[in-house]
Symmetry: C2
Subunit: 548 residues, 2 copies
C-alpha cells in the first residue's frame, strides 16, 4: 500500500483546501480528511481521467474526473506528486476485472447470487413455452448471435434454418425474440437490432415471416415496431448498411420513432452536468444551466417512449423495440416498460431478474462501458502534453455506462411518482451505480453471456455476485412505504407442476397487479440530487443533524 | 343552489374542452366533468379574479384565476353565461367569514382545536417565566400594541412605562419580545417591527435599554439583529419614518440583512409561475422558465436567513428578527428557524402551537391576505371594460397569503431534506393551504388577537378550528417514516409542578433533540409540484394505476 503523508484536497463548492492523508490500496484510493475523519474514496475504475500539472514550482496538482460525476483535486508539495502520479497510473492501468477474483477469496458466503436467478425461470413465470412460443437452444454455441444468451424464446413455427437466415439480416445477428409476455394475457414485448436494409431496402423473407409470426402468436392483428432512435439516426445508419422496417415490406406493422438520443448526445449532456456540478457551483441560474445540459430531456424522452409502448399494450398490441445494435437504448426502454407493466419487477428479486435478463443476458456491454476492460479504463494526462491514453482505442464517450445509468434515473423518477409501489428503495439504485465501477463483483463483468461463460474466467464460480451482497442486506434496501395488497393474488400457470417456480414467484403472487403510467411532463421530472451531487457538500454538511 | 346544465371547461395543458355540469352552492362552485365523475371545485374566496368575455356571438367564457395557482375556463352558450356570471359575482362578494359560522352549526364535535393550544403553555414549556424573563399582561387592553397578543414575554427589569415608550418607537407598537427560548439553555429568539429612526436617526433610550436587556438576559455578550429585509428596503422605509438599528446607538449588537424580498416581488414571481403553470405548459425549457420566475430564489433566501440565524444560536448568541411591520417576513424566518432548532415543532401538536403563536397570536394579516375580509375578496371583470373591483381598495398584491405559503414551501423543503424528522406529512401542508381560503374554519379568520377576541365575533366559540379537523384525522397526516428515538428523553422543567403541561409536552419528551440545518444550495431546492400544479393533469392521469 502506498501512502502519501499530509497533502490537501479541494472539495468542489468549498473555497478552502483540506489537509489529509492519501492512501493507495490495490483496489482504490482513500483520502482521509484531517481532523474530521471523513474520507473520500473511489475504486480505480471509477476514475475517468487523471491529469497532473504544476501550480507553482513548489506545488503540483492531480485532478481526477470520476464517472460518478465527482471532481477531486489533490495538491502535493515537491516531488511527492510525481511519485503518486506514477503509482496511481500504474494502479489504474492494472485495475481490471482481476480484482473481483481477489475479492472472492475473502468472501466465504455460500449465498451465490449468480445462481439464484435464471432466465429460464422468468420464461416459466410468464407461462412459456406454450403452443405459440418455444424456448430454443439454437444459440447454444453462440453461432446465431454471439451477444445473445443461449436460450431464446421465438414463435413455435420458426425453423432453425429460418432463424439463421434472420440472423444474417439483423445487425450482430440480434434477431427479434420475445423478452416479456403478460403472465395473464397474450401481449408480448420483443427486442432485436436494426434490420440490414441499407439504402437499397434489402429484404429478407424469413425476417418478414418472423415479424408476422410475432404478431399472430401474440394474438393481435398488428405489431407496433418502436424504433427508439430518432428517425434521422436510423437514416444515417442506413448509409452504413443498417436501416429500419419499411412499412410496405412489413405488413400489419406500425413503425414509430422513440427519439432517444445516441451515446454521443448522452456524453455531451453528462459533460455539461459535470461542469455544472463541479465548476459552476456558486453560479446563479442553476435551473437554467441544468435545463441546458439536456440530461433531464433524455430522461423525459425515455419515459415518453415507455408510455408510447404502453399505449399499444393497453390495446392488446404487442411491441417490438429496437435501436441500432439493440444493446443500449433498447434495454433502457424495454426494462422500464416491464417495470411499469409487471409488478414482479417492482420487487427486489424481480428487479434482479430484470437486470439479469434484459441487460446482462442480452448483452449490454457492461465491462467496456464501466472501464473494467483492459485498455478502456481511463485517460491519463501529464502537464500540457498531448493526451496519453492507457490504450490507443480509449474514448470517454464509451467508457461510462450511460444507458444503464439513464435507466436507473428513469426508474428513480417512477419510484418517486409511485412511492408505494416498489419494494426496493433509492439506496439500492445508488449502491448499484457504485458497484458498476468497483470491479468488486462478477455481476457487471464482461460484455455478454458468451464471454461470461468462458471457461477461463468462469465468472459465476470465481467471483461474488452483487446480488449476493444485496440479498444479504434486505432491510437496507427496503422501501418502508411499500404496500403489499393481498386482494389480487395471482397463481402462476405452472404453480402446481413446478413447486420451485412457485417459491421463486412468491413475491409476485402477493402483489397488486397494477400498471404504472409515468408522468412525463417536464414539471414532474426531478433532478436526482443524491446520485449526481455526491461530492458537495461533504456528508457532514449534507446531513448535519446536531444536538442542541 | 344554482345549477347550470351542460357547459364545458378547459383544463390547462389539455387541448380539448370537457363537458360537465356546474353547481353553485353558497360555499363553493363544483364542476362535475362528464362522464368521468371527476370534479373541479373551489370555495369562492379561493378565486382571485373572474373575467367574462364573449368568444363568439353564441359562446361566452368565464375565466377564473385561483389563489391555488389554478386557471379554470368555462364556456357557456347563449345567455347562460350572464346568469352564471351574475350569480357567481354575487356569491363571491358575499363569501366572507360568515361561512365559518354556518359551518359551525353543522359540526357537533366537542373537540375544540382553538382551546387545545394556548401560547402560555408554550412559554411554560420553555421554562418561562424565570428570574430573567417575565410574562406580562401589559397589553391586556391592546393599548401597547393593537396587533400583538395580550400576554408578552419581556426582560424582568423592564417597567411598564418603559415598554410604553418603546411602543411609540416601533412601527405599530410592535416592540421587541421573546418568542422562543431554548428549553435547555439560555439562547433566545426575539421579534419586533422596525424602529422609527427616520432619516435623522431618532433614538429612544428605553428601546436601547430593552435591546441591551435582551442581550444580557439571554446570557450572551452580543445580540444578532437579523433585519430580514434587503438593506435597500430598510433605507426606503427610512424615508417614510421607519428605519433600522444604527450600530453606534445599539452597542454590542451586530446588524445583518436577510435580503428577503417584499410582497410586490413575491406577487411578481407568483404571477410568472401562474402563467408558466397555466399558459406555457407545452413550452420547452420548463426549468429555465421556472428559474426566471424567481419563486425558488425566495425559498432559498428565506432558508439562508434561517441558517444565518442558526450560525448565531450555535455560538450561544440570541437573535432579534424584524422586517418593516414584522408580520410577514419576520414570522416566515422565525417559525422556520424554530422548526430547525426545536424538535417539538416537528410534531403535529408542535406545528399547531408554532402557527398559533408566531402567525396567529402575533398578528399575521390572515383575513386580509386570504380574501375573507369584505372588500378584499377578488377582482371581477366583464368584457374589455375597465377592471371593476368589488371594492375600491382591492389589490391582488395583498390578497394572497404569500408569506405563509412561502413558509409552507420552505417547510416542505426541510421535510424533504430530513424525511425522518417530521411527525406530519406533506398532505397536512397541502390541506392547510386549502383551508387558508375556504372560509370554513375560524383558525385563519381575522388579522390579530384583538379582532379575534372581539365579543361580536367570538371566533373561538362560534367557529370550528382547522386544528379540530386535523387532530381528528391523525393517521391521514402522519409521516410513516417518522423516527422516534427514546434515547434522549428530556424532562420539561415544570413536569413535576404542572402535570397538564407535562401531558402537553409529551410528544416533545419522546423526541431526539436535534437541530436541522437546511441545505440552501439551489441544487437542493425542489419545485413543489403537488402544491403548484394542482390543475394538470387531472387526477386520473396523475395517479393512473390500472389493472392489467
Amino acid at each position: 500500500m502506498q501512502v502519501s503523508d499530509i497533502t490537501s484536497v479541494q472539495i468542489p463548492g468549498e473555497s478552502r483546501w483540506r489537509a489529509g492523508i492519501l492512501l493507495l490500496t490495490s483496489f482504490r484510493f482513500i483520502f482521509r480528511i484531517m481532523p474530521s475523519q471523513h474520507t473520500l474514496q473511489a475504486p480505480y475504475p471509477t476514475i475517468l481521467s487523471m491529469r497532473k500539472k504544476s501550480i507553482t514550482t513548489e506545488y503540483h496538482e492531480l485532478k481526477l474526473k470520476l464517472k460518478d460525476l465527482r471532481q477531486i483535486r489533490f495538491t502535493f508539495q515537491g516531488r511527492e506528486a510525481d511519485r503518486i502520479f506514477a503509482a496511481m497510473s500504474s494502479l489504474m492501468e492494472s485495475a481490471d476485472r482481476v480484482f473481483a477474483y481477489k475479492f472472492k477469496l475473502g468472501v466465504s458466503s455460500h449465498l451465490e447470487g449468480t445462481r439464484v436467478f435464471d432466465v429460464a425461470k422468468e420464461y416459466i413465470r410468464m407461462g412459456l413455452p406454450n403452443s405459440e412460443w418455444k424456448l430454443t437452444n439454437v444459440n447454444s454455441d453462440y453461432l446465431l448471435c454471439p451477444t445473445y444468451p443461449r436460450l431464446l424464446c421465438v414463435p413455435d413455427e420458426m425453423k432453425t434454418s429460418e432463424l439463421m437466415a434472420v440472423s444474417s439480416f439483423r445487425a450482430g445477428g440480434r434477431i427479434p425474440v420475445l423478452v416479456w409476455k403478460n403472465p395473464r394475457g397474450k401481449t408480448c414485448l420483443f427486442r432485436s437490432s436494426q434490420p440490414l436494409t441499407g439504402l437499397t431496402w434489402n429484404r429478407c423473407a424469413e425476417d418478414e415471416k418472423l415479424i408476422s409470426l410475432l404478431t399472430r402468436s401474440s394474438g393481435s392483428e398488428t405489431l407496433h415496431i418502436l424504433d427508439v432512435r430518432p428517425k434521422k439516426n436510423a437514416a444515417a445508419n442506413q448509409l452504413k448498411g443498417g436501416g429500419y422496417e419499411h412499412q410496405t415490406n412489413y405488413v400489419n406493422c406500425n413503425v414509430t420513432w422513440g427519439g432517444c438520443a445516441n451515446i454521443h448526445s448522452l456524453y455531451d449532456s453528462w459533460n455539461k452536468l459535470y461542469r455544472l456540478v463541479n465548476e459552476q457551483l456558486q453560479s446563479t441560474n442553476w435551473l437554467t444551466h441544468l435545463d441546458n445540459s439536456g440530461w433531464l430531456s433524455h430522461v423525459q424522452t425515455s419515459l415518453e417512449a415507455v408510455n408510447s409502448l404502453m399505449d399499444s399494450t393497453e390495446q392488446g398490441i404487442s411491441v417490438l423495440v429496437h435501436c441500432s445494435d439493440g444493446w443500449d437504448r433498447t434495454p433502457t426502454v424495454l426494462s422500464l416498460a416491464q417495470i411499469c407493466l409487471d409488478p414482479f419487477y417492482r420487487t427486489t428479486k424481480g428487479l434482479v431478474a430484470l437486470i439479469e435478463k434484459d441487460w446482462i443476458a442480452f448483452g449490454h456491454r457492461f465491462e467496456e462501458r464501466s472501464g473494467l476492460q483492459r485498455g478502456h479504463q481511463s485517460l491519463i494526462q501529464q502537464g500540457g502534453a498531448k493526451s496519453k491514453s492507457t490504450a490507443t482505442n480509449f474514448s470517454p464517450v464509451f467508457a461510462v455506462t450511460w444507458y444503464f445509468r439513464l435507466f436507473l434515473d428513469c426508474l428513480y423518477q417512477i419510484m418517486t411518482q409511485f412511492p408505494l409501489h416498489f419494494e426496493y428503495n433509492e439506496k439500492l439504485l445508488l449502491n448499484m451505480t457504485e458497484a458498476l465501477y468497483s470491479g468488486q463483483y462478477g455481476t457487471f463483468l464482461r460484455n455478454c453471456d458468451r464471454e461470461r461463460r468462458d471457461a477461463k474466467d468462469n465468472i459465476a464460480e470465481n467471483t461474488v455476485s452483487f446480488w449476493t451482497i444485496l440479498l444479504s442486506n434486505p432491510s437496507l434496501y427496503k422501501n418502508s412505504l411499500y404496500h403489499r395488497s393481498n386482494s389480487h393474488r395471482l397463481k402462476t400457470q405452472h404453480e402446481t407442476e413446478a413447486p420451485e417456480i412457485a417459491a421463486y414467484g412468491q413475491g409476485y403472487r402477493d402483489l397488486d397487479h397494477e400498471k404504472l403510467r409515468p408522468n412525463t411532463s417536464s414539471r414532474h421530472i426531478q433532478f436526482w440530487t443524491s446520485q449526481y451531487i455526491r461530492s458537495w457538500p461533504l456528508p457532514d454538511k449534507l446531513t448535519a443533524v446536531r444536538t442542541i
